[in-house]
Assembly symmetry: D2
Homo-oligomer: 138 residues x 4
């Protein structure tokens, strides 16, 4: 499964180079992640309401070309793998319906309880583990 999230670049997202500031791409990845999880069948809000958090432990982002104000950008999100303790997701950003990828990245997350203590997802929420496991891209 892949999810596709479409956004319009905001003026506040630009910097004085005249392009989108690099800190914005992780925020777009996150918007993609929100949609991916929802499309898998549960909202991330519900996950948190069950006392399960998914903080990042690693982020990588490659910037290939620049997005600009008022561009329509799409975030294609997929799940690279999931274990009882971790989740790794992959993102590609495109602009204005061009097939060219302008940025890509990965995020690595750890499953934790509400106090940010790591937990075993298979024990804490086996249904959630199964749900997401079925979405791993081959």
């Amino acid at each position: 499964m892949e999810s596709v999230t479409t956004l319009t670049v905001r003026y506040a997202e630009t910097d004085q180079m005249g392009i989108v500031h690099h800190c914005v791409y992780p925020i777009w990845f996150e918007a993609g992640r929100t949609d991916f999880i929802k499309q898998a069948g549960i909202s991330y809000s519900e996950v948190e309401n069950r006392g399960i958090l998914l903080p990042l432990i690693q982020l990588t982002c490659n910037y290939i070309s620049a997005a600009k104000y008022e561009d329509t950008v799409s975030v294609t999100t997929s799940l690279k793998n999931i274990t009882y303790s971790r989740l790794r997701m992959f993102y590609q950003i495109r602009a204005n319906e061009s097939p060219k990828v302008i940025a890509s990245g990965e995020t690595l997350h750890v499953w934790t309880d509400a106090n940010l203590k790591p937990l075993n997802l298979k024990k804490s929420a086996p249904d959630l583990y199964e749900l997401l496991y079925r979405q791993v891209s081959s």
Copy 2:
């Protein structure tokens, strides 16, 4: 004329109070303004390409109730008035298709050249002035 912009609340837009941070609403207003101007018949990118900028000189925002992560929010934008030197816009934020306004605000802008020097819009871009003047809400 009114424009309506629909957005999904991003995780990065929340703060430790568990609600959307107040600095985000002006960014949503701006997304509304982008759509309003485009709907009037010209994109704000084109306006800037003609060497005309529209910086803020005043912002007010009233926070009535809180938006939360994953809420669908709508920004209803209208033009309160326009003169040769200034523009005043009005915004209302609603959440999750409820008619209840959760925040409202105004922005006052000044027309300037690319060096942020005030200009007379009627002289510099009479077509733009006419275009926007027709959109003033009564």
Copy 3:
């Protein structure tokens, strides 16, 4: 009492106009508020740990001239008034040690419990009320 907070403008805070984006000033006001409350004798973290929150209900900001990347900006913060239910603060931004104010603003807050329900500060935390009341600028 007044507090003075000194910050260096970040690249991410600029936009494609080449100046600090207007949504940043409320964040600087907040940094000023954090320092003001600490200087009054209690940190806002401690206030929140006691189950008392201070969300905004109104923001106004006047933009007089623009801050730029790498400018040193100072935020002068004062308390305009405090009641059992509300707090109003005032801010002035200056840049690069010039006496000229480049932006000013006010925030109006309501005292609430951790569920964002309004509370009476005099009843819930009389010491905090007294502490802040003594800081009201005349």
Copy 4:
């Protein structure tokens, strides 16, 4: 050479997990980079005024533990290497004067002209190349 930049965590930098949102660390890295370059003997503003930009092409960030509101964080910045076309910098974040690193990261940049076209720094600004080359950490 290393530079050390000290910052206070802003409320707006937190998210509903009660910790600093992960998109903030690249902004802190950038504040560190600003200070590093200035400490090397030229401000990044001056670099840009000479028509030379330094956009990112890669970002990595490792999140080890979390920063919280009102924490004092320090960013230790060093230059890993510089070529005629690229620059790689390294960052470590610590909190509240503990020696423990709570996050670390790298940014890879390309030297470009004002139109974001790659340039050869040795040809375009040999003095800048020499200045920075002397700061490479061994």
